[in-house]
């Protein structure tokens, strides 16, 4: 037993540790198995910040199912129901409104989300749920979104304004041709007319009739574009067809280029596929053109006329019609197939063919063919050479001038029937430097050889001397039409203690001058003129109204230097007697009109006095002998007196030239080597040379003298001689005298005068004006060329613009197409007078060459058979954005041309989307705008038109709107638009609104988010 126990005990002990270890492992495994979880939950929440951002952006605040949002809605706190919850929170935030926090809190708290999450705008916490503090977060996840229009402390929504130009009226032009005559001229205007402006060179005074109702008379200056408006005659227009007529009581009115600008009552681009010809009643003599912008599909012509004589019509150099109506009214239709057959025929140089009519200005001529002898007859030349013999012409120059004049005499007198006169001038044009019109070359040359260079330069004296060869009148003033109560125009007035005023108590016509001496100082008025040395008559009406003083009337002469004037003849009226100085001649009565005439031969010591055409004083003694008459002078003496003077005339008593009658070509050739530095009393005259001097400016007076010459049908050519010549003045003289300007250096004058003589002789054959008696023909204004071609109406606003006149002797000018505009068309206006526009060119900047787009010489015919465009169209393909420069030449043949008129210009149009936008701005009220245009005019307009607030805005040079100081969307949009219209950024707008009947307007959009922004963040953290 004992042993068994021992074994048993020994055996247990041997397994004890093993068993113990085993049990320990079992326990450990048991514990591990016990504590091991059967289900393990792991949260995954990577996207909830993105989800919340998306949700807040997706739900409109109006729809949000949230208790606080409902409260906001019901309280009216939501101004924009359509914006998202995020925007609404942002709006509250921008306005520092705590409802941003409340709303965000409410949304987060209603979320069953036991997570850390927060909403932040920029760095500002809006709302959050935090299980653990954000500050102790170990990881942070963020979703971001930029929302525009939100910035704390600033408005969230604003205004944007669009400013634009618009036209609800149509502007259209009727262009006269280069020459429309000769007779009464009429034009058809179709539509409801809102405005009519006319510009043209009219040859004579004329009356305007609208629908056969008198609508005013006009007295245009010769050869200068004359402008007038029919704004005050609109009541005479009717809807539909209207006829505007230009009638002259004198014969043979013509228009040498011009246009009628008509404003109609609707905006519509009317390309004007039918070109109506102006009507002519008299001698049908039409020089015109047309332009087709694309290939002609069909062309028809209607000639509605009445003529016993054959009329012809040419297109290019092709005669498409010749016939007459035997003295009855007829309409001739030249249809498309006929015109094709005529224009498709082959021919020589420059033949116009039907398929090639497009993209070129095509001359058109309608005239009287059996009156051709008027065109081709040699109209004899009466030419006066007006030569500068002032001191600067000494030595070689005077020799050149003499030789040139001798050459001119020979060249002109080489043709029988021609005459030459000479009028040399220095300080004034003296009689012994003058030679009447003559064909006696020896006498003329002797006169030339007697000239000596001395003294000053009075160009106008020389021109007026030439004029006096054809017209005896030296100075006339009837005061009619002047303003009552003002000083008479053109007189030198010294009122002293008296008054000299225009009065309606006239002695003839409707005005006179009243001269009143009121105290000790005598009032006086005088007018001087170039000294006259031929027998001269001074005549005037006078009436002694009241007072016991003396009426003193003087005829005065100039000293040799034309620097002072002295009494020659003195007449007085007082005590009931008309007196030679104080000697009683004939009695007179108070308040009675007397016509007083004085005739004197300068240099004589006696004169003749006529009262009411009766000789009352024969060989009366002059006050003091003078060798010329140069001034009339009216004043008073002794006591107070009141008298009236009217109808003052100074004229040559006898003709100084024996001017042949008939169809003759009057020409003056004016040569000078320097500046005009002596005036001739012409006053007032325009500031032709634009130097700002209008006070007896010798240059302006020289140009005015040329204009006066042209009014007397004298064509004035000008010659600059040597490098000191005042070319600008001479060019203006040629322009106003409708002549050509030439230049010669010393040594070249002889050749030049030879050329001038040849030109004058040619011109006497070929200029456009025709004359004739007994002709009665009529072209009716419904005559037309109807052209069918492909045309596309442009998108955008077509704005017509005119450049200023070229105003330079080269007849060269530029127009500018802005980068953001599309050129629509460009028409070069040429006032060619009685000549033809022969060549028009555009400067090609890339090749630095001039490229012709109209060349009349290319038609290879005598110009008299060709049309003459007033308006030459530049092919659209040649017009570039930026500066475009053109120049114009005129002539009488392809080999005889000079620069065109200084009055030429370009009428062009661009297509442009004239609109501009403002930035988003807090307000949109408007402003009263003061806008300055390029021509210096200003306009004040409220934008919008109903704006009545106090704001004044300026777009003017020197007073410019400051956009940084404005928060008004309309102001900013208008300013932006005006800047676009200010093409050269000089503070002046190029597009004059009134010219295009444009106005400014705006439209606004409200509730636009501002462009500033804030980053919204949704953050989660753990």
């Amino acid at each position: 037993m004992g042993i068994k126990k021992i074994k048993l005990i020994n055996g247990k002990r041997g397994y004890f540790f093993s068993l113990d270890a085993f049990l320990a492992l079992v326990i450990i495994f048991g514990v591990i198995l016990f504590i091991k979880p059967t289900v393990k939950h792991v949260d995954y929440e990577e996207s909830i910040h993105e989800d919340l951002l998306l949700a807040l952006s997706s739900v409109a605040i109006a729809d949000l199912n949230n208790s606080y949002a409902e409260t906001l809605r019901s309280s009216g706190a939501i101004t924009n129901q359509n914006q998202s919850v995020l925007d609404q929170i942002g709006e509250f935030y921008a306005n520092s409104d705590t409802r941003a926090n409340t709303l965000a809190d409410s949304i987060l708290n209603e979320l069953d989300l036991d997570k850390n999450i927060g909403i932040y705008f920029g760095d500002s916490e809006i709302a959050k749920i935090e299980i653990i503090p954000y500050a102790s977060a170990e990881t942070i996840s963020t979703s971001r979104q930029i929302i525009s229009g939100i910035q704390q402390g600033n408005a969230t929504k604003g205004y944007s304004s669009r400013a634009f130009l618009f036209a609800n009226k149509r502007v259209d032009y009727f262009y006269f041709g280069g020459y429309v005559g000769d007779g009464n001229i009429s034009v058809i205007i179709n539509g409801t007319v809102l405005g009519v402006n006319v510009e043209g060179v009219f040859s004579k005074n004329f009356d305007v009739y609208i629908n056969n109702v008198f609508a005013g008379n006009h007295s245009p200056a010769a050869n200068i574009p004359y402008k007038f408006s029919l704004a005050d005659q609109l009541s005479k227009f009717v809807p539909g067809e209207n006829i505007v007529e230009f009638r002259s009581t004198q014969e043979n009115l013509y228009v040498a280029g011009g246009f009628i600008k008509v404003v109609y009552d609707s905006y519509d681009i009317n390309e004007g596929k039918t070109k109506f010809f102006p009507g002519v009643e008299g001698l049908i003599n039409l020089y015109d053109s047309f332009y087709v912008p694309s290939v002609v599909k069909k062309m028809d012509i209607l000639l509605h006329y009445n003529s016993s004589y054959d009329i012809f019509m040419t297109i290019g150099n092709k005669t498409v019609y010749q016939g007459n109506s035997s003295g009855s009214e007829t309409s001739v239709i030249l249809n498309d197939s006929y015109l094709k057959s005529i224009l498709d025929t082959s021919g020589g140089l420059g033949v116009i063919k039907y398929p090639n009519l497009h993209d070129k200005t095509v001359p058109v001529r309608i005239g009287l063919s059996n009156a051709s002898y008027y065109l081709n007859q040699s109209s004899y030349v009466d030419i006066i050479s007006v030569t500068d013999i002032s001191g600067s012409m000494d030595e070689d120059k005077i020799t050149d001038a003499k030789n040139a004049n001798i050459q001119l005499i020979d060249a002109i007198l080489n043709y029988s029937g021609n005459n030459v006169g000479l009028a040399a001038y220095s300080t004034w044009a003296k009689k012994n430097d003058f030679h009447t019109l003559s064909n006696d070359s020896t006498s003329l040359k002797n006169e030339v050889n007697s000239w000596n260079a001395q003294d000053y330069t009075c160009i106008c004296c020389g021109i007026l001397k030439a004029v006096s060869c054809f017209d005896k009148n030296i100075f006339l003033d009837n005061f009619n039409g002047q303003t009552s109560g003002s000083n008479p125009i053109g007189w030198t007035i010294v009122e002293g203690n008296g008054v000299i005023d225009i009065t309606s108590s006239s002695l003839e016509g409707d005005r006179a001058v009243n001269i009143s001496r009121l105290s000790s100082q005598n009032p006086s008025m005088n007018h001087y003129f170039p000294p006259q040395q031929d027998k001269i008559t001074t005549e005037f009406l006078v009436r002694h109204n009241s007072g016991t003083g003396t009426i003193r009337m003087e005829v005065e002469g100039a000293n040799d230097g034309y620097s002072s004037l002295q009494d020659y003849i003195v007449l007085k009226m007082y005590g009931g007697w008309i007196r030679n100085v104080n000697a009683q001649i004939v009695s007179y009565n108070l308040n009675t009109i007397y016509k007083i005439r004085v005739e004197v031969v300068p240099g004589a010591s006696t004169y003749d006095l006529y009262v009411n055409d009766a000789l009352v004083g024969d060989n009366l003694a002059v006050y003091a002998t003078r060798n010329n008459v140069a001034r009339v002078f009216f004043t008073t003496e002794n006591s107070n007196i009141n008298y009236a003077v009217d109808d003052v005339k100074v004229f040559l008593t006898d003709e100084i030239c024996d001017v042949p009658q008939g169809n003759r070509n009057r020409v003056a050739v004016v040569m000078s080597d320097g500046q005009a530095n002596r005036d001739c009393g012409l006053n007032p005259v325009p500031d032709y040379d634009l130097d700002g001097d209008t006070d007896f400016d010798p240059s302006d007076q020289a140009i005015e003298a040329a204009c006066i010459a042209k009014q007397k049908n004298i064509t004035v050519h000008a010659v600059g001689f040597g490098n000191t010549a005042d070319e600008e003045t001479l060019q203006n003289i040629a322009s106003c005298g409708s002549g050509s300007y030439y230049f010669a250096d010393v040594g070249g004058l002889v050749d030049l005068y030879t050329q001038i003589a040849n030109d004058v002789i040619k011109a006497s054959y070929y200029e456009q004006t025709i004359t004739g008696e007994g002709f009665s023909t009529r072209l009716y204004p419904d005559s037309y060329i109807k052209l069918s071609y492909q045309s596309t109406l442009p998108y955008g606003l077509v704005v017509f613009t005119e450049t200023d006149i070229f105003n330079n002797p080269e007849s060269q000018g530029s127009f500018y197409i802005p980068e953001d505009s599309t050129p629509y068309n460009g028409k070069v206006v040429s006032y060619s007078g009685a000549k033809w526009t022969s060549n028009v060119e555009l400067y090609n900047q890339s090749s630095s060459t001039w490229k012709s787009f109209f060349n009349l010489g290319s038609y290879g015919l005598n110009f008299t058979n060709l049309g003459d465009p007033y308006m030459t169209e530049i092919p659209k393909s040649m017009i570039k954005t930026g500066n475009n420069t053109v120049r114009v030449f005129v002539g009488v043949s392809s080999s005889n041309y000079t620069a065109g008129s200084i009055y030429n210009k370009v009428i062009y149009s661009v297509i442009k989307e004239f609109s501009a936008y403002s930035p988003i701005s807090p307000s949109a009220d408007g402003c009263k705008w003061n806008i300055e245009f390029e021509d210096g005019s200003t306009i004040i307009m409220s934008v919008p038109s109903n704006y009545s607030g106090p704001d004044q805005c300026h777009y003017q040079s020197g007073n410019m709107f400051d956009p940084d100081g404005s928060t008004d969307a309309i102001e900013l949009a208008i300013f932006s638009l005006l800047r676009k219209l200010d093409l050269n950024s000089n503070g002046k707008i190029e597009t004059k609104f009134s010219d295009n009947d444009l106005t400014l307007d705006t439209s606004e959009i409200t509730g636009i988010p501002f462009s500033w922004d804030t980053e919204v963040q949704i953050r989660t953290w753990s």
Binding site: N10, R13, V39, H41, V42, Y44, L64, N65, L111
Partner: protein, 145 residues
Amino acid sequence: MGRFILTLKSKKAQAWSFDLVIASIIFIVGIVMLYFYAVNYTSQSENKLDDLFFEGNLASELILSEDSFGILTGNQINQAKLDEYLNYQQKKDELGLTKNFYFNIQNDPTNYGLVNPPDVENIVRVIRITIDNNKIVSFKLYIWE
């Protein structure tokens, strides 16, 4: 008898030593086994969780989409599309998921999917936010092996 006593006396220490050696071996082997078990178990669990994270994320993206298998229309829960998840197996097949899942939406007592999940070792909960009937609500998806 004497022999028996002598025999016992001569082997007593050896028995204890041997026992201790055996016990130590057993214990060390056990510890080593436990170590390897623990290491392998943790790695395996992590892999399984990663799978669940991935598939849970995928499932939530698919379910919260406007595709044919999604439950959204116009960023909002479409009840009709949601009800289709009452047919769990079909939707699971459409989604191409290998794991089981169910989800619920805040304020909606219904659990969509395998509505009675068994006791499993790992369940991943994917939390999202969506819009239900213009209310911003939580979306919770549970997914397991």
